[in-house]
């Protein structure tokens, strides 16, 4: 009887999930978009995520490896949306690389590219 009760208790405690729930974070929208080919330089960089995330690092680099400064500073608060004004970007292929920290402390590093003609 005690064994059955223990089993029942364990089942109740574990029942809400039968498989591991990943804290999947997706980049839902970005401006410029991934693989965008722009005829004029973008004025701003915008990232919209599926949930509030902690963005700890972001960089914008040209195809020559030059890093573009746009006054990013990591923030204490989490947010689903981030936006920065960009300086005038000369024609090049740019890579946006960013690092997120999930709630469980794991690092999520992602990147995408866009082109300015």
């Amino acid at each position: 009887m005690i064994k059955f009760r223990s089993f029942l208790l364990l089942s109740v405690l574990l029942s809400p999930l039968s498989t591991f729930a990943h804290s999947d974070v997706e980049l839902q929208k970005s401006i410029p978009a991934d693989n965008a080919m722009l005829m004029s330089a973008p004025k701003a960089l915008l990232l919209n995520f599926s949930n509030d995330v902690r963005l700890t690092a972001i960089s914008l680099t040209s195809e020559k490896g030059e890093s573009i400064d746009f006054s990013f500073a990591p923030a204490f608060k989490k947010s689903a949306s981030y936006q920065w004004k960009l300086p005038q970007l000369p024609p090049s292929t740019y890579t946006v690389s960013y690092v997120l920290m999930s709630d469980d402390g794991h690092k999520i590093a992602q990147d995408y590219t866009f082109m300015v003609h």
Binding site: L13, F20, T56, A57, P74, A75, M101
Partner: protein, 292 residues
């Protein structure tokens, strides 16, 4: 550059695991040695454990700074960037680091107090030690893949972590006792350990299986992902440790009479410790670098 932070984090976490388990083994030592415990035996074990705990403390710091560096993505300078350190300290990673530092510092204070007190009973060492072990185990649940799951899963992980810390922390204690006692006494100690280990090892296996079930969506993911493959390697190593333990119980311990068989036993326990270290490194990698 990011792989350097991965290596540093895995190294720091491995040192923490070893420090944690050294403390768990040291707290258990009086029970292992048994009635008529010579306080000097326990004191010598505690002195060694304190050094390992101190290394574990350094490991926690290394892990925290390396994690900060990885998140900052600013090269090595990111490890000591004040703003990033503040941000990290305000997250679950900071909570876990604080719990680990407090737990290991408490372990050091407890061990040194015990060694310098004239009270010979071990009864206060064990409850105080178990409290700190719970705190250290809770720090592991504070972050990582299980931290998002309901309380039941977290309780299973705590049981797993405490069981593993106790089991793997006891092996170096066994090795030390086996090298410094006569065969008759070593035989008693090994038999006592085998009796004590039966239930915790069962808990470790069951809780480990429960977590593996929750972490994978399908059986294919176990052998098709890097996480799954590394987990299988860990399971194989744990299987080797269990085989070595069985070899001790059924072959080496019953033969314990001559000094030759004691030498074989200590050598075999030494191998067990090598496997344990590999298990700690793989676990640190599984919980740091990879995701299921």
């Amino acid at each position: 550059m990011s792989y350097i932070f991965d290596i540093l984090q895995v190294a720091g976490k491995t040192l923490f695991y070893i420090g944690f388990s050294a403390f768990a083994g040291a707290v258990y030592a009086p029970l292992l040695i048994g009635s008529g415990t010579n306080k000097k035996d326990v004191q010598q074990i505690l002195i060694v454990a304190e050094k390992v705990i101190l290394t574990g403390l350094l490991g926690v710091l290394l892990w925290f700074f390396a994690k900060t560096g990885a998140m900052a993505a600013m090269g090595l300078a990111g490890m000591i960037d004040p703003l990033m350190l503040n941000i990290m300290w305000s997250t679950a990673v900071g909570d876990a680091a604080l719990m680990r530092v407090l737990g290991l510092l408490g372990a050091l204070v407890l061990s040194m107090t015990y060694r310098h007190t004239t009270v010979t009973t071990q009864y206060w060492l064990i409850p105080a030690g178990v409290t700190l072990i719970m705190l250290l185990a809770a720090s592991i649940v504070r972050i990582g893949h299980i931290s998002d799951l309901p309380f039941g899963y977290q309780a299973v992980l705590v049981a797993h972590v405490i069981g593993v810390a106790w089991w793997l922390g006891s092996v170096p204690v066994l090795w030390r006792l086996a090298t410094r006692n006569d065969s008759g006494h070593v035989k008693q100690i090994m038999q006592r350990f085998a009796k004590h280990a039966a239930m915790p090892v069962g808990v470790i296996v069951l809780s480990g299986a429960t977590m593996a079930y929750t972490l994978f969506n399908s059986f294919d993911a176990v052998y098709q992902t890097r996480y799954g493959q590394l987990l299988l390697l860990k399971l194989a190593l744990v299987g080797c440790i269990l085989l070595i333990a069985a070899h001790h119980k059924w072959f080496l311990v019953p033969e314990l009479k001559a000094s030759l068989s004691r030498t074989r036993l200590t050598r075999s326990i030494g191998f067990e410790m090598l496997f344990m270290t590999a298990v700690f490194i793989i676990t640190a990698a599984l919980t740091t670098v990879l995701s299921p």
